[in-house]
Symmetry: C2
Subunit: 144 residues, 2 copies
DNA sequence: TTTCCATTTCGGAATCATTCCAGTTTGGTT
DNA sequence: AACCAAACTGGAATGATTCCGAAATGGAAA
């Protein structure tokens, strides 16, 4: 499964005419290995360093930007908090824990028809983002 | 109508034991006058200066934070973009134009039951945020 | 395989919204 | 009128992100 995601990402990379560098390969590996963790730049940077000899923070930023602009990954932007990256491109709802910062996916398809919205408001939807902030199961258990 | 919102805000301020200062009064005025515009800090700061003799940027930040923490207003956080503030506390969907940055409200109640989510995922929802990014009617008309 | 150049990488400086800080002022209660 | 916790100030600090010019390199073409 992870192999498929990885091969798919590399395939898309070439399709888009982007070069396959050791840095990018390392970043892809980290993304795939942590695909259910919505990793941030710091984690990706740290882990990528273990895989490729030379990777700079600038490169990680540039690469993640490039990838998300080309639709390889999804960028979840946050305020006063590192952006998070998701290999899962499907529309889903993010459950974001206020306490530990964990981001879980909630897979109920959003019952919002872009067509209805366009018809009623004239607004053309290109990206959907649904966040539910609150507390995850684990944090609720833990005292304090 | 606007009068009611203003009086209501001032009422809540006193209820919460917060002091009514000329700076806060000016900020409330700006919020109410621009209630359908989702104003950001810069706009609020600039306009508030016209109303009160002395207002500092720090105060605007502190005040907006205080207000939203006390539930007087809603803070919409953005990445790489000023936060926006909303006097309308009801759950609604924000239509955010990628081009002009306008934020419009879309008033269809979200058909997501917090109870269902809690039951299925153990996640307790405290805040809902739904954003649909795309292009507004006006920007679609305009060429280039 | 060698050449070549657009792309990528690098690290350090710059950006910018926001927060922090320490000192001063002030609303509103006693 | 006195008092003090809360609020205000402006300048410095923060931290994620972007920008920059120079150096390195993937991979297509020769």
């Amino acid at each position: 499964m992870e192999i498929n995601i990885k091969e798919d990402l590399i395939g898309q990379l070439k399709e888009k005419g982007l070069k396959l560098t050791p840095q990018r390969l390392a970043i892809i590996d980290v993304l795939v290995e942590n695909c259910d963790r919505h990793p941030g730049v710091t984690l990706i940077f740290t882990e990528a360093r273990k895989k490729a000899k030379r990777v700079s923070l600038s490169t990680v930023y540039a690469t993640l930007k490039e990838f998300s602009e080309n639709g390889l990954i999804k960028e979840l932007e946050f305020d006063r908090m590192e952006n998070r990256y998701d290999v899962d491109l499907s529309d889903h709802i993010n459950l974001i824990c206020k306490r530990c910062g964990t981001i879980a996916d909630y897979d109920i398809p959003a019952p919002l028809e872009p067509k209805d919205i366009a018809r009623k408001s004239g607004f053309v939807v290109t990206d959907t983002r649904m966040e539910l902030h609150g507390y995850c199961r684990d944090c609720l258990k833990r005292p304090d």
